[in-house]
């Protein structure tokens, strides 16, 4: 007779922290992107609270100064403190990005959903409109719109509006196709059979599964909004008084900043823009992984 203790079932479970760290190691893109974005947000908030925001506008401080202790990012031809200009510019870019992004995503979710869920000719119309508007070069149209507006009417809010005008088709089609796949899948049929009303199905079954796509669409829309607003601004079509990133670069180009050796002037906004779009792109890539589980690997 052998004397032995009861053999324990072999359960080797890593701790919670290890799991989170492992995931972060695998999905570096998401982590870095979010980190950079966070830094930018902190920068903006700190600046808004500590700096004198009036200095972001012309004729506030000595002009054409290179970066120094007093003016960390230098000043421009018109007498703006570029550091403060960055802070305000980032804030306004964020407003445009989030506003246009949220609006675009919202329209996309509502229209895409209605189109897929209720089907029929409503679906045909919505889908048709989206498909027909897609080949139209949105940026060009936006240029035309912005170019036609009276200079005084251009504000960051009109810019956001102009951007959304031709950006909503993307999320609509994406959400629509997702809802369509879901409609076919079993769990909606099961919910219907068990007597759940339409509204119930929508909120408890479909929406939770749509969240990753909604989130991804939002990030995409914000990216596009920042891109498009920068594009318009750099052509001189933005609200010229505001220190938007694109505006700053446009002004710098108009004054031949590089050739006059005021290199710091366009550099700051260029860097800021690259950081914003880059971090958004990384986050997009990272969310890609969340939505597509096959990308996940352990070890």
């Amino acid at each position: 007779m052998t004397t032995a203790t009861l053999a324990q079932p072999e359960v080797i479970q890593p701790s919670r922290l290890t799991l989170v760290l492992r995931y972060m190691r695998r999905n570096k893109g998401l982590v870095i992107g979010t980190f950079i974005l966070l830094l930018l947000v902190i920068f903006t908030i700190h600046g808004t609270l500590t700096a004198d925001l009036k200095h972001a506008y012309p004729i506030s401080v000595k002009s054409k100064q290179p970066p120094s202790w007093q003016f960390p990012l230098g000043t421009d031809f018109f007498g703006r403190d570029l550091y403060v200009a960055m802070v305000v510019g980032l804030k306004e870019t964020a407003i445009i990005g989030v506003l246009a992004g949220a609006l675009g995503t919202l329209i996309g979710v509502v229209l895409g959903f209605i189109s897929a869920y209720f089907g029929g000719w409503l679906d045909l119309i919505i889908k048709g409109i989206c498909q027909i508007l897609t080949p139209i070069p949105a940026l060009l149209i936006q240029v035309i719109i912005a170019g036609s507006l009276d200079k005084r009417d251009v504000t960051i809010y009109t810019m956001a509006f102009v951007v959304v005008l031709l950006a909503w088709m993307g999320p609509t089609l994406v959400i629509r196709s997702q809802v369509l796949t879901m409609k076919e899948r079993q769990f909606v049929a099961v919910a219907k059979l068990s007597g759940m009303g339409d509204l119930g199905i929508i909120f408890s079954e479909i929406l939770p599964n749509l969240l990753p796509f909604i989130a991804a669409s939002f990030v995409n829309q914000v990216f596009y909004a920042v891109f498009a607003s920068f594009y318009l601004a750099v052509l001189g079509l933005g609200p010229l008084r505001e220190p938007l990133l694109g505006n700053t670069i446009w002004a710098a180009q108009a004054q031949s900043a590089f050739f006059n050796n005021w290199w710091w002037w366009p550099l700051a906004p260029a860097l800021a823009l690259v950081l914003i779009l880059g971090s958004l792109a990384l986050i997009n890539m990272g969310m890609d992984e969340l939505a597509n589980p096959r990308i996940r690997r352990s070890e």
Binding site: A138, S148, F227, M285, I295
Partner: protein
Amino acid sequence: MVKLIIRRLLFLIMVIWAASTIVFFIPRISVKNPVRERFATLARTGGFSPADMEKIIAAYNVKFGLDKPLLQQYGDYMASIARFDLGVSYNLYPKTVMALIMDSLPWTIVLLLVTTILSFVIGNLLGAIAAWPRAPQWARTIATPFILLQGVPPVLMGVLLLFFIGFKLKLAPLGGAYSTGVVPDWSSPAFIWDVVWHQILPGLALLLGSVGGWTLGMRGMGITIQGEDYVNFAEHKGLSAYTIFKDYYLRNALLPQVTGLALALGSVVSSAIVIESQFGLPGLGRILDAAIRSNDFLVIYGVVLFVTIAVAALMVGMEFIYPLLDPRIRNE
């Protein structure tokens, strides 16, 4: 088959109609009258009396039909589109819009085509490699800087390239289609090389930011394809990694990407046009730019319409190419 062609043609017509309508109404929001703008410029140089100017402007308005009610103008315009008559440029009268477009089109086409195709090939290859677990680590990371570069809009890239490579390093020309003082001679290889040389920076400005998009898409596609049973079976057959990569993985993952090609062309167009102004290339960008500043309606319409039709036609065309590549669809 015939039904398909008809449906696609209908789509094309709808797109043209939508684009024309949008483009027609937008500039009308503005108060700027193109004829007036033109004369304002003239007035600054010469000495015209305001009263005389008004008479001339009124006369031109009648001539161009700008005094008719909006809806009638719309109707007239749509009718002329159907006749392929894009009208004349107010600003550069009497040059017709079509002529303006045709002059600058070749430059734009070359720039676009080359950059889009290169971007597609490089981007997709990088994406495919990035998703392939057996690719060496260094190869998989080449994709990353391109993905990051997506954050740099072509416009900005143009500025940076111009400054750093053109101005500071003097490695490439600062603009223009060919060197100043050179007489265009398309039969001379030296001239052709000069032209190509001048296309490099603008091409790069467009290329570098767009590769990332393809890479990301292909990477996602690649990962899905890797999980497919036929890739698995290919491994069971003992095929080399290279063969599996080429025939089982790439061939299948690339197909859906091709559908995005036409769309990509469409979106690059906008950026390309700005790049052209930036680098002083004599493409569509230059005439569109001038037209927007002076609110030269018909030129604006013409260019945007032309671009829209081209993109839409390409999209439709792709649908006919797709079956050639994917045997599963051929029988429809």
